[in-house]
């Protein structure tokens, strides 16, 4: 929907317009902030890293980059930077991206709206189910429904092909759907 305006925004950002920097910052800081904390579970480190990310983005604005979609580009480059930072903090022990996601990437009950189209599951149950998904499934769900990204952009952020994104999404949502159906069957059996 705002693909066009992101392109224009980026154009003026590269030209060094203050207002373009401000707009870009205000538009993407909130999303990158939440995404970063999900990955790192370390608010301070994430915020410092995010500030440095924006500084570098501005200072290197003239550097030629291939950008298909600004949002996906920002997500993927911020993620890379953050993971590097986290690895530095762990001294010599090499920790893979997957391990960070496994231990940190979780959702809280407050993050789930009480209005869900997936019926028959309490917010608590739904939260537990989502948190039990694989790290990749959680990230797909996050990018799709929390950050409102389309599957093409998700593929770019997660370095997967389009079909794998769909398959991952399908697996994750099928787990939730089956849990919902089982709950529905249970509630029908209780009544009769």
């Amino acid at each position: 929907m705002d693909l066009h305006s992101d392109e224009t925004l980026w154009y003026f950002f590269k030209k060094g317009e203050t207002s373009a920097f401000t707009l870009l910052y205000k538009k993407f800081y909130p999303q990158l902030h939440v995404y970063g904390i999900k990955i790192s579970n370390a608010p301070h480190l994430t915020e410092d890293c995010l500030q440095n990310f924006f500084i570098q983005l501005y200072e290197e604005r003239k550097k030629p980059r291939v950008i298909k979609n600004l949002k996906a580009y920002l997500f993927v480059s911020f993620k890379r930077r953050l993971i590097k930072e986290l690895q530095k903090n762990h001294n010599n022990i090499p920790i893979s991206e997957a391990q960070f996601f496994k231990s940190n990437f979780t959702f809280s009950s407050e993050e789930l709206s009480i209005h869900q189209e997936i019926r028959f599951l309490s917010t608590q149950t739904l939260k537990n189910l989502i948190n039990q998904l694989s790290p990749r499934q959680k990230e797909v769900i996050y990018l799709k429904y929390y950050s409102d990204m389309n599957s093409t952009d998700i593929a770019e952020v997660m370095d997967m092909n389009y079909q794998s994104v769909l398959n991952t999404l399908q697996k994750a949502m099928t787990k939730l759907r089956i849990a919902s159906e089982n709950q529905q069957i249970k509630s029908i059996l209780k009544k009769s």
């Binding site: 929907m1 705002d2 693909l3 066009h4 305006s5 224009t8 925004l9 003026f12 030209k15 317009e17 203050t18 207002s19 373009a20 920097f21 401000t22 707009l23 910052y25 205000k26 538009k27 800081y29 909130p30 999303q31 902030h33 939440v34 915020e47 500030q51 924006f54 500084i55 501005y58 200072e59 959702f107 809280s108 407050e110 993050e111 789930l112 709206s113 209005h115 869900q116 189209e117 997936i118 739904l126 989502i130 769900i141 799709k144 429904y145 929390y146 769909l166 999404l169 399908q170 949502m173 099928t174 939730l176 759907r177």
Partner: protein, 337 residues
């Protein structure tokens, strides 16, 4: 084998009418897909997966507050040698430099496209206006949702968002207030729509106003003083100039054009009318290499958030080639066909 590859997850996800079924949005689509699934039980599993993906999960997004963002922004600006420009200073430079004026205006345009333009003038009027090809989702202070299509405008008194003027095209999901039975009014050149809680679509292009009701109940007060009541699934078209009133039920057989959730849904509408919609929404001009192309009928959902995708969808639906040169769309017969 062919069937297996055709009705895959992507097939369902790409189908606007299927999406309506998944979200229980449109009676026709619901009836169609319920029936289809009954006759094609082997695809139920894939269809249910697609449905689960479409309805998704509703998150209560915990983004940092705007104050926090501004605070962090204020810290970073001096570090990169940028200072927030005071408004008066930027005005001055605009007046003195044509080049600067141009780029400032362009940046302001960006602001419009993602926050929507909210003008507050002296009369306490709020105006939301979209550019060509831009769609915005609005939430009014009373809880009503409005999706405003490109090149359209709504305006209302700040204190009363439940009485608004519309130019162009919009889809409304009106928040009902049962305690006070507060009504909601949409005023166009041709008529007034009086609403309780409901979902409907209003289009004021082409010197007439079209209203399509999805849910609830509304009254229309035409500019000649007549009052008419609508029930869900009906279309009313009225022009002040010609005093021509059409009031009919939208069925699978009647030609109609609806716009909902960023998608145009057409049923047996000739290409020229579809392209006319595009002219108004994107500010382009359409030319045809041959007259008969204008009459090719289109049915189905055309996504219209993006001109490129929109054109690709129309090409596919009509078997034509549409060449985009500057702001002119040239419609030709597809050489392959």
């Amino acid at each position: 084998m062919i069937n297996k590859s055709k009705f895959n997850l992507q097939y369902f996800l790409d189908d606007t009418s299927f999406e309506n079924w998944a979200k229980s949005l449109n009676k026709n689509d619901i009836a169609y897909w319920n029936n289809w699934l009954q006759n094609n039980p082997q695809h139920i599993e894939t269809a249910e997966s697609a449905k689960a993906i479409i309805i998704g999960i509703n998150f209560e997004k915990q983004f940092p507050k705007i104050d926090k963002v501004n605070e962090e922004l204020a810290k970073i600006l001096p570090k990169i040698g940028l200072e927030p420009t005071p408004k008066k200073a930027s005005k001055k430079s605009r007046a003195s430099h044509k080049v600067v004026y141009f780029s400032t205006a362009a940046v302001l345009l960006i602001l419009m496209s993602w926050t929507s333009l909210s003008l507050f003038n002296n009369h306490n009027t709020t105006v939301h206006k979209t550019n060509f090809g831009e769609i915005i989702d609005l939430k009014l202070s009373d809880g009503t949702s409005v999706v405003l299509n490109g090149n359209s405008e709504i305006s209302y008194n700040k204190d009363n968002p439940r009485l608004l003027n519309l130019k162009g095209e919009a889809y409304f999901i009106v928040k009902s207030i049962p305690s006070t039975n507060a009504k909601f009014w949409v005023i166009t050149n041709d008529l007034k729509v009086e609403v309780l809680g409901t979902q409907f679509h209003v289009n004021t292009r082409e010197k007439k106003t079209n209203v399509v009701l999805d849910e609830g109940s509304i009254h229309l007060e035409l500019n000649n003083g007549d009052v008419t009541k609508m029930i869900p699934g009906e279309l009313v078209s009225y022009s002040k100039e010609s005093e021509n009133l059409i009031h009919k039920k939208v069925t699978l057989e009647t030609p109609y054009a609806l716009w909902r959730g960023g998608t145009y849904v057409f049923n047996e509408i000739p290409l020229k009318e579809v392209m006319f919609n595009l002219e108004l929404t994107y500010g382009v001009e359409v030319k045809y290499s041959s007259e008969h192309l204008k009459e090719i009928p289109i049915s189905g959902g055309i996504p219209n958030q993006n001109l490129k995708i929109c054109i690709a969808a129309i090409e596919k639906a009509t078997g034509t080639r549409i060449i985009n040169k500057g702001n002119i769309l040239q419609v030709q017969k597809d050489p392959i066909n």
